[in-house]
């Protein structure tokens, strides 16, 4: 017999239940906001890398190489512990003491910047996979640049980009767990905190895992539905 006494009630007993729910909510909002930054910044980086301009390509390329080739955890520490130490000591202390939810917003920015480097690469890959003749075919019928992008290129590119985007969002969502290392009480952080009060880590980490799985499955199902809706008949879906 194991001597471990299961007590699942730690998951909903006051105040742990509230911590857990707040953790889940934090995970969802933090990873969604980060992904919003990732898509906006990633679109810029991706477009920068395909523009016929050496300077934008250098900027985009350096960004991707710098961010993609350093561990995400190091970046998180850099943003939270490293960057503020550049400031004079008084203002550094003031920031840690007075900026509300500093770990949370640092997590959003860091995760967003990190994911942008990956999203940017996907966008670049999607754009360069559309042959230039496709643009020219549209132009040759008299469509304007705007109409060509609006009716031909973007609808085409979206279908190419959606499967890798789903993967990137899920990675972003799971990476949000690491923000507990700078003190964000998201799902993983909350389960760790409850464990430290109750010694029921098995229950809390199991619950956290279930939360991640359920949300991931929901996203996968949603995106599969979206992909089916916009699927191009006769074209084989590209692998993940």
């Amino acid at each position: 017999m194991l001597s471990y006494d299961f007590d699942w009630s730690v998951l909903w007993k006051h105040p742990y239940g509230r911590w857990m729910l707040e953790g889940i909510w934090t995970t969802i909002t933090l990873s969604s906001l980060a992904f919003l930054i990732a898509v906006t910044l990633g679109l810029m980086v991706g477009v920068f890398r395909v523009l016929p301009n050496r300077i934008t390509r250098l900027i985009g390329g350096s960004y991707v190489e710098l961010i993609r080739n350093t561990p995400y955890l190091v970046q998180l520490f850099f943003w939270y512990f490293g960057l503020p130490s550049l400031l004079p000591q008084a203002s550094e202390k003031w920031i840690y003491d007075h900026v509300p939810s500093l770990p949370y917003w640092t997590g959003v920015v860091c995760l967003g910047v990190y994911t942008a480097s990956r999203v940017g690469e996907q966008i670049r890959a999607g754009m360069i996979s559309i042959p230039t003749d496709q643009y020219q075919a549209a132009f040759s019928t008299g469509l304007t640049t705007y109409q060509t992008y609006r009716y031909v290129i973007i609808p085409y590119a979206i279908r190419i980009i959606i499967p890798p985007f789903t993967t990137e969002f899920l990675t972003c969502f799971k990476n949000s767990a690491l923000t507990m290392t700078i003190g964000v009480l998201e799902t993983t952080g909350a389960s760790y905190l409850i464990d430290s009060y109750t010694w029921h880590g098995l229950e809390t980490t199991t619950a956290a895992s279930v939360v991640y799985i359920v949300i991931t499955l929901c996203v996968v199902l949603l995106m599969a539905w979206v992909e089916r809706r916009i699927h191009i008949p006769g074209m084989i879906a590209r692998g993940r």
């Binding site: 020219q136 075919a137 132009f139 019928t141 008299g142 109409q147």
Partner: protein
């Protein structure tokens, strides 16, 4: 209909077109041939303003292509273009491919555009494929839809850039038949192709390009029998084998 006068074009230091002169009269079909990299596609792209050129002049239906005041979007509606790899829009059906430009550029109603598109699909012989997506069509069928898409703008000129070189042999004829039909119907055409049978049948003039210049030109068959330069002879020997 088309006057090309002393046109030269460079990509950086590399000269793609060298002092090209050519005139295509209304209703004529001109066939352009020449080895890979000789500038054939570039010449077509200069004619409808998809590529700028640095020197010379191109006049299409009285309008100068390089004049900054020219509305290139308008000009392009007068010139249909067919590509080697069809370039149909993969997310649209054959019918939607054909009706897009008439609806967005000419502001035709969906109904009117679709009626016209169906007539064109009949003309190229595949009305039953109207609601298929490109990926479900054979190469020959896709190219015929692409031709119908260009014709939908009722252009005065049609340009073809190696329209059959991506096709299996058994599909080449169905595309060439449509093109012969267009040519004999009085369309002004510039066709980049190595299908010499087609050239013999309908071309009023055949020009041979090499390294950016037109080095040989001839009306019909004389071109094949006594090419002036050894370069042309060499090339013709290869493609006529």
């Amino acid at each position: 209909m088309i006057q090309i006068k002393n046109v030269s074009k460079w990509y950086g230091d590399f000269q793609v077109l060298r002092d090209v002169n050519e005139e295509v009269k209304q209703g004529q079909t001109v066939v352009v041939c020449g080895p890979s990299g000789s500038g054939k596609s570039t010449l077509l792209r200069c004619i409808n303003g998809l590529e700028p050129f640095q020197h010379g002049e191109i006049i299409v239906d009285g309008v100068s292509v390089s004049d900054p005041a020219t509305n290139l979007y308008r000009l392009r509606t007068e010139i249909g273009m067919v590509f080697q790899r069809f370039e149909l829009y993969p997310h649209m059906t054959a019918l939607q491919n054909i009706t897009l430009a008439p609806m967005k550029v000419r502001k035709k109603s969906r109904r009117e555009a679709a009626d016209h598109a169906m007539k064109l699909l009949e003309r190229v012989g595949i009305p039953e494929k109207a609601h298929e997506h490109p990926a479900n069509l054979s190469g020959g069928q896709q190219q015929r839809v692409a031709i119908a898409r260009s014709l939908a703008m009722e252009p005065k000129i049609m340009m073809f850039d190696e329209p059959t070189s991506a096709l299996d042999p058994e599909m080449i004829k169905e595309v060439l038949d449509v093109m012969v039909d267009l040519s004999t119907g009085g369309m002004t055409m510039i066709v980049v192709t190595h299908e010499m049978g087609f050239a013999r049948e309908v071309a009023e003039e055949i020009i041979f390009m090499d390294e950016g210049s037109i080095i040989e030109r001839g009306t019909d068959i004389s071109f094949f029998q006594n090419p002036k330069s050894p370069r042309t002879k060499d090339f013709l020997d290869k493609i006529l084998m």
